[in-house]
Amino acid sequence: MLEVHRINKRFSSGGIFKKNYITAVDDVSFSINRGETLGLVGESGCGKTTVGKLVLRLIEPTSGKIIFDGVDVTKLRKKELRKLRPRMQMIFQDPDSSLDPRMKIGDSIAEPFRLRGGLSRRVVGERVSDLVETVGLSPEHVNRYPYQMSGGQNQRVVLARALAANPDFVVADEPTSGLDVSVQAQLLNLMNGVKSDLALTIMFITHDLEVVRYMSDRVAVMYGGKILEVGDTEYLFDHAEHPYTRELLAQQSAEDYYVPEDDVNNGDGGCVFCSRCPFAEEVCKNKEPVMVNIGRDHQVLCHRV
């Protein structure tokens, strides 16, 4: 369904005289099969959100290929891309800023239908009420504004709006992190239900290992702009090979685990994790590791395996 091949993203900052570059995503490759949920885990600042936006080409990659359903998204021109857009949707962490504050809930959900065109007002209205029901809201919510709803309700609206575009692929960027634990569980259940009903392919970005275990078929672990380990969720949780994955699993969450950028070894060769790795050897500092396949669809980026 989705194949990402060696994408890079560098952000430039700084003034007229001196430009600084920050490598947010460094040579990342992965693939997602149709109907599968890939979990992308990592601490804040590791580049996981950037990967999510790159995959949908909401920002332009510096280099690399992104192949969605046989089409290289990075090569599409604006017009062609816009046609493809409805098939790939994104859900953000903060539902309140994801909804236009001046639009009623119903209008927000209806917009993708109206964009498609050719549907009468009545049909659009029916489709909107269907979706509202699907995501567990009641019909009277349609006439409300986002500020009149709770965060959990708004996230349901965001989900309904994403579904209105009739997507095949959805990138969910920490969709439940801003919500209460009880609401979180409801929404995750809802997403799982919707996913199997509509045969969606999902990329689920989170820092919460419990959530990722519940939601994903496969997991990719990110650190310092690189994917360090990929594998089948259940297998990976029991047989993590990369020292970083093990560290994460011991912590149970990548939350509050932000590491200053200096600790990420970027640039002058060597492994991104070597300055924090308890097993770092001479080779880790000098030579960049390559992704190794160690069987059962399990890949690790480490010199020690």
Partner: protein, 315 residues
């Protein structure tokens, strides 16, 4: 909604009363006696008897609160009184000057809006590009340049070197040709500030997740910017434009003076020099009414622009 408007309108009354009391007492605190100033002729100071007679005739011998209440009573009956100096009705003078200021304000507002809104949007869309830098530089120059200097530069270029427009004057009842230069002068700083606000407000709107989602939906950039971003970004801009118009309507004394425009700013300054009490009080009250009304209109238009405010008002 109606209840909200009614409540806001009622709140105007105490504000205006307060303004009138302040303006009334300030005038009396200032040194100088209108009777003496008016009766002083090139031949010398007036006789005390004549001054006293004038004071009695104008009611200036009464205690200040009596004068205030009498004045207020007259105002409530639509009577602004007569000017001490010209002995003509105050309201006519105010109305005439206000008409001149209003004309000028509307034209300069128009110039400022058609320049600043598109530039602000452009700068935000082309964020961090040369276009953006140019817009920001222009805005910086626009706010920094002093009115009087800009006025003289414009006069030099357009009236003296090129001889396209008149140097100054009100012309034939304030025609467009006479209005262009003062309107540009007055509109510049407003345009500069609005451009910057429009830019930052647009940037803020464009960085919201709903904009990214709108793009992800496959909406064209025109719809994304025009429908989702602009509508949200305009809210603070509308407020500022309203306040700006308020300032313009109060009369820009310096600019009006340079261009010989008979506006309300000049009227107030002149009447202060002459201690023309009725004229000062009348025009200050008039200006206050205009300002407060504009604020009210801005607030009400807000509720249409931003549904959140309507909600809070209902609570």
């Amino acid at each position: 909604m109606l209840e909200y408007i009614a409540r806001r309108t009622l709140l105007i009354i105490p504000a205006l009363l307060f303004v009138s009391i302040i303006s009334f007492s300030m005038v009396y605190l200032a040194p100088g006696d209108p009777a003496e100033i008016l009766l002083t002729s090139p031949e010398g100071t007036p006789s005390p008897a004549a001054v006293e007679a004038f004071r009695v005739r104008m009611g200036l011998d009464q205690p200040i609160y009596v004068q205030y209440l009498r004045w207020l009573n007259n105002i409530l009956h639509g009577d602004f009184g007569y000017s001490y100096m010209s002995e003509r009705p105050v309201f006519d003078a105010i109305f005439k000057s206000f008409k001149a200021t209003l004309k000028l304000s509307i034209v300069s507002m128009f110039i400022s809006v058609i320049v600043s809104i598109p530039l602000g949007i452009l700068a935000a869309i082309k964020h961090n590009s040369a276009t953006d830098d140019l817009c920001r530089l222009g805005a910086l120059v626009g706010v920094s340049i002093p009115n009087f200097w800009q006025a003289f530069l414009l006069i030099l270029l357009f009236s003296i070197y090129l001889d396209w427009l008149p140097v100054a004057g009100y012309g034939d009842g304030g025609d467009l040709r006479h209005m262009i230069l003062p309107a540009i002068t007055l509109g510049t700083s407003s345009a500069a500030v609005t451009t910057r606000l429009m830019r930052s407000s647009m940037l803020e709107a464009l960085s919201q997740d709903y904009i990214i989602t709108a793009r992800a939906k496959g909406l064209s950039e025109k719809v994304v910017v025009g429908k989702h971003a602009l509508k949200n970004a305009l809210i603070p801009v509308v407020t500022m434009l309203g306040l700006n118009l308020g300032f313009l309507l109060n009369g820009a004394v310096v600019t009006e003076w340079i261009f010989g425009w008979p506006g309300i700013g000049g009227l107030v300054v002149d009447s202060i020099y002459q201690r023309d009490y009725t004229m000062i009080q009348g025009s200050i009250l008039f200006i206050a009414v205009i300002f407060v009304t504009l604020n009210l209109i801005v607030d009400i238009s807000y509720t249409y622009l931003d549904p959140r405010i309507r909600y809070e008002a209902k609570d």
